[in-house]
């Protein structure tokens, strides 16, 4: 397995799922947000979003706080320190994979030229 494939294979599977990646990326850019914000920004269905949030909460990546403002239910979500660390790791792995890919592209013509000569 080359470096690039290894970097992609090592990615955190919980975050790498597209729906959850969107949620975690949105949460990484804010201190905290509510369900309506995530619903609008991810454009997921309520059920889908709830399932992804439950999965992330089970993994300890996010903290969910449920309360009421008057009679309106309010769900506030924030990334836990563990979730932030996992996201940082995921981001670094992707960057590394892209850099390896770029270097492979740069190196390729050099190898071809040296092989011919």
């Amino acid at each position: 397995m080359n470096e690039q494939l290894r970097a992609i294979a090592d990615l955190d599977r919980i975050i790498h799922e597209p729906g959850r990646m969107m949620i975690v990326a949105l949460l990484a850019a804010v201190d905290e947000c509510d369900f309506l914000y995530l619903l609008r920004e991810t454009e997921l269905h309520k059920g889908n979003l709830s399932t992804h949030l439950s999965r992330l909460e089970e993994s300890g990546y996010i903290n969910i706080e449920k309360s009421y403002r008057g009679k309106v239910p309010r769900t506030v979500v924030r990334l836990s320190p563990r979730g932030r660390a996992a996201f940082e790791e995921y981001r670094k792995s992707l960057n590394l994979a892209l850099v390896n890919h770029l270097q492979a592209i740069i190196e390729k013509p050099k190898k071809k030229n040296s092989g011919k000569s």
């Binding site: 992609i8 969107m22 509510d34 309506l36 960057n95």
Partner: protein, 356 residues
């Protein structure tokens, strides 16, 4: 030489553009998607015009304060217990950029598009510390200048005139204000959190710096950023200065001194740049704001002719000539904020069914 097919023509293999290849890789796609999601929160900056309204009210209050000062009844200044009321407009000016966006967020924006807290959002405690830091710094500088002038005139006549007690009191005040400024300065002047990004600059810089072409690219990017950060403000300031100078010479004012001209230029140009920065994300949505930018830069020229300068008894020549400029700028900000808020409320009605 090996030839590669690119559509209808051919080109040497070594000329293949790597930028056309990289976006198709899965990691590049994932990173681009990640970046788009991370930056989504930034696109909400001033989406409701809250900042514009707050800033506009603050500048309007700053400009109108000298006019309001002339309207206060005389008995208010007679006692310390009542004279504090005259500071209210300035106090409101300090808190408007914080309080107005917060109130709009709380009652209008969050119920419509959801609640999200920005990591770099200004907190009330931080704002109060900033105000006290500014006061302490101003006080220190004022006492230093006064002491410098006293010593320049000679300390013996100053001692004979003022006495030891007065000088000691000034020195104590200076010590206290400097200590406060240093203490609060360390708390107030903190490094802001960097803008969140999916791309890791350090990883890219390291890999690019390994080749001569990469190093050249990095150098060009840095030079471009430097030109943008320094060149744009200099260009805008220069342009505004020229326009104000030409307008002064031809129609509006020909008695304005260099100091007033420079102060007007700095205020107008900095507000123009701030307008661009604040609306950088929302200007795609509200394209009419491009029309308000030249209005913001030109309106102050005509304001001096239309708005009469306040008749104040005390010597505030520089401030007096700036007030029409500040009122004009404040009005443009306020107008822009009001229209943005109206459009935002029309485009984002309250959800019928509250989210979980």
């Amino acid at each position: 030489m090996e030839l590669t097919k690119t559509g209808l023509c051919c080109k040497p293999d070594s000329m293949k553009d790597t930028r056309q290849i990289t976006p198709s890789s899965p990691d590049a796609k994932a990173l681009a998607e990640l970046q788009a999601q991370i930056r989504r929160n930034a696109t909400r900056t001033n989406i409701d015009g809250g900042f514009e309204l707050g800033w506009g009210v603050a500048i309007l209050l700053g400009g109108l304060d000298v006019y309001i000062a002339t309207a206060w009844p005389k008995w208010i200044f007679a006692s310390l217990w009542s004279s504090w009321v005259t500071c209210l407009p300035l106090l409101a000016m300090c808190f408007a950029p914080y309080a107005i966006p917060r109130a709009i967020n709380r009652w209008i924006t969050w119920p419509r598009i959801g609640y999200a807290v920005n990591p770099n959002e200004l907190k009330l405690g931080h704002l109060i510390k900033m105000l006290f830091f500014g006061l302490a710094l101003g006080e220190s500088m004022a006492i230093l200048i006064m002491l410098g002038l006293t010593l320049q005139a000679g300390w013996r006549p100053a001692l004979a005139h003022e006495g030891w007690r007065h000088l000691l009191w000034q020195a104590t005040k200076l010590l206290l204000s400097v200590a406060t400024a240093i203490y609060l300065g360390r708390k107030v002047i903190t490094k802001r959190q960097p803008m969140p990004s999916a791309y890791d600059a350090s990883v890219f810089n390291k890999s690019l710096a390994q080749t001569a072409g990469g190093r050249r690219l990095l150098r060009n990017v840095k030079l471009g950023m430097l030109l943008l950060v320094i060149g744009l403000p200099v260009a805008v300031t220069g342009m505004v200065w020229c326009v104000i100078r030409v307008a002064d010479l031809t129609t509006v004012h020909d008695d304005r001194g260099w100091r007033e001209l420079t102060m007007s230029t700095v205020i107008v140009a900095s507000n123009g740049l701030l307008y661009l920065m604040i609306n950088g994300a929302s200007i795609r949505r509200y394209k009419w704001k491009w029309l308000l930018l030249p209005v913001l830069l030109i309106a102050p020229l005509f304001a001096s002719a239309i708005i009469p300068e306040p008749a104040v008894n005390f010597d505030l020549t520089n401030v007096r000539s700036l007030t029409p400029v500040m009122i004009a700028i404040g009005l443009v900000w306020f107008l822009s904020g009001t229209v943005t808020l109206g459009v935002f409320m029309r485009q984002n009605p309250l959800p019928e069914e509250p989210a979980a």
